[in-house]
Symmetry: C2
């Protein structure tokens, strides 16, 4: 019998796992230094939780199943509904703002494509219980802090920032009737992937006139908030949203993330649940899918049974990020590493080898050895294969420590070796 993994899933062999761990550790390190706390939710929930947030259309993206009690369950395709459920269950005892992050494994019943798999990891960073754009700015800062941490510069990636309520206000100002707003936003969301003609065709189908298409198009080209202020001077409804955007960019500048951030009103995010600032992180050439996406979603907590409370955050998947890092040559070479490889000078020293191995490990030092007696040369080769820094050659009357990079060696005792503090890369 030959078995294979399911298409769209990944096997993480040690070399792949070291890369994944390197990314996940950076996600965690950056989250913690930005004052966020980690949480996690179950990998399956009641199906209702996911459809309540995103409607029945999400059901097609879900792996769902029935347990022996007949309950409808589903693998989580995103963690935000679970986050909202968890927050709601303790809403009265959690001090606000709630600054939480997670690194969930997510599953979606999609057709696998480049950058899109059926199982992946997604870093989620959210602030709940803060209404001002400073919370949005902090989330964007966290995303930028991570990009910088992994060696990606503003030449490599950009955070493209739009505003749902501003776009809605401009649509209304251009005379788009409220019942057409959602459809118009959906078309605008697709615009970057469409030709000018296809976009115009879909926009007309969504109920926009040619004049409105022209007006919205001009608005989406705006390069900065000042230009918009000039353009929409007469439109009172717009002013508050422009003030918010201006404050957002000022805060991003003060925090030190301004050079990664660009106003891009073409970003509207497809999901209906966003209510404020929205953003997507793209590679500069925009040849890949979005590396991350997020925004403000002030209604979700309430929709999922809680009070009306502001919420904002983003998700960043490991798949596109990994492709981008590889393309930019930013993935480090990571091999197995152990501090000591313990070698027997002859078969009689086998018990002493085991004693040395056990003692080194208990002292917090990493140590490996061969199960079978081998020649000294073969044991040294095994030491190199395991990425050992030093070989410890155990003789009847003591040990020799050999630095495998320099070849330097000295005679010592096991007791002396163990005195080295854990993790110290001391020379022999």
């Amino acid at each position: 019998m030959e078995f294979q993994g399911v298409k769209g899933t990944r096997d993480f062999y040690p070399d792949d796992m070291r890369v994944l761990n390197w990314i996940v550790e950076a996600w965690r390190r950056v989250s913690l230094r930005n004052g966020f706390e980690e949480y996690d939710s179950p990998i399956f929930e009641y199906l209702d939780l996911f459809t309540a947030k995103s409607g029945q259309e999400i059901a097609g993206q879900l792996f769902n199943f029935v347990d022996r009690g007949g309950r409808q369950l589903a693998l989580r395709p995103e963690i935000t509904p679970s986050l909202a459920r968890m927050v709601n269950a303790k809403i009265s005892s959690l001090p606000r703002p709630i600054k939480w992050f997670s690194v969930p494994r997510l599953c979606r019943a999609e057709n696998p494509q480049k950058g899109r798999l059926r199982e992946f990891f997604q870093w989620n960073v959210d602030v709940i219980g803060a209404d001002g754009v400073l919370a949005d700015a902090e989330c964007i800062y966290v995303a930028v802090d991570l990009l910088r941490e992994l060696g990606l510069s503003p030449d490599d990636v950009r955070v493209r920032i739009g505003s749902r309520p501003l776009t809605v206000a401009v649509l209304r100002g251009a005379g788009v009737a409220p019942q057409f707003t959602e459809a118009a936003l959906a078309v605008l969301d697709k615009r970057p992937k469409l030709s000018q003609e296809d976009f115009a065709k879909l926009a007309r189908e969504a109920g926009l006139s040619d004049v409105q298409i022209e007006a919205v198009g001009r608005f989406q080209q705006a390069a900065g908030v000042d230009e918009l202020r000039e353009h929409f001077r007469g439109l009172d409804e717009v002013r508050g949203h422009l003030d918010d955007l201006a404050e957002l960019f000022a805060s991003l500048g003060a925090l030190g993330a301004g050079d990664y951030c660009t106003l891009d009103l073409r970003v509207v995010r497809g999901l209906a649940y966003y209510t404020g600032v929205v953003y997507e992180v793209f590679d500069r050439s925009q040849s890949l899918r979005a590396v991350a996406g997020g925004g403000r979603y002030d209604n979700l907590i309430e929709v999922l049974g809680g009070p009306k409370v502001g919420a904002t955050g983003f998700g960043m998947g490991d798949v596109v990020l990994g492709i981008l890092l590889a393309e930019k040559g930013k993935l480090p070479a990571l091999g197995q590493q152990v501090e000591y490889f313990v070698i027997e000078a002859d078969e009689s020293s086998r018990p002493a080898v085991l004693e040395a191995v056990g003692a080194l490990r208990r002292a917090g030092l990493s140590a490996d050895f061969n199960y079978r007696p081998r020649s000294l040369g073969k044991q040294l080769k095994a030491a190199n294969r395991r990425g050992a820094s030093r070989a410890v050659i155990v003789r009847a009357d003591g040990v020799t420590v050999k630095d495998l990079a320099s070849g330097l060696q000295r005679d010592t005792t096991l007791g002396e070796l163990l005195k080295a503090p854990a993790g110290t890369k001391h020379m022999p």
Copy 2:
């Protein structure tokens, strides 16, 4: 709408997550220092992979589902079948012995009970491609290294070690016919949970005579290998297995794990796929389920489509381990911790606060702050709630750093603060 998590799953709020991470980090640290490399597999696989290993009876413990292509999939209830699949796919290029570990999230369609949930994490440590008992000894040593690392002593926990082939040889020596061996092993596995009468009844049903029950009972009471040697002097079939057990205990002693290990021939492990040494880790009073269990399984790689190659390893779940650590008072108190909480002396210093926060974080230091202007007292209170070590009070003309434990403070500049190496707990 009110949403709840599914029974038998857990929500990890930050306090719970810190405990889980503390356990998982220990699993990883101990694995790495013992020379094992991490891998992971998809959380769902083709259903066939799991039933091929453990037979159709496992299907009742599986969460299985059908994808849109009509494929039968299942959430992994254990990772060993995936490990075997992955090893088989690269068997010719992987240097042996393969020493791998993983920390998979597993899902089982069980009725939740104390120590048994429908979703949990399980540390898996395996050696593939090594036939001798030294590989078994090393796996047991790794388990012991972890127990010791978490503060559990031989007074708290014991590794109880048995031998499947020895037990089989003794059954045969007592005249149990080969066709009754599996049934007899299944009854022996249940013995510790049965009264003497119930055990005798089941054993008779499995085809054992009263004399055979008596003989096997005496064998299972044996306290050491020497006693067994004396007892089974005439039985050639037994000698090799006794030599293996003796070598195992000698290796465990040399490695420094002997004080945690006990011969206990009542341990036979239920699963039919074990072929050699088997063991279970229990709390001393045996009031909880097994903390860990494992053994040698030399046929599995071949059953799952690979060559005949020796394999041995164990699994340790987070649930029983967590209960035991809590009972023994070994769980540390873990709260949120940040190095700096940045405070504004007055509203005009808000941009300077953001600059300080951003700069500290970029320098690798953890820093938090309030989104809204508050009184100095309220900001200091927030600093304490976030577990800050120091407050940084930003004024128009510089900053004051206050150590929150000692109350000591000094005036400085942001530039001076940033010169501190990441993570250094320097006094103000």
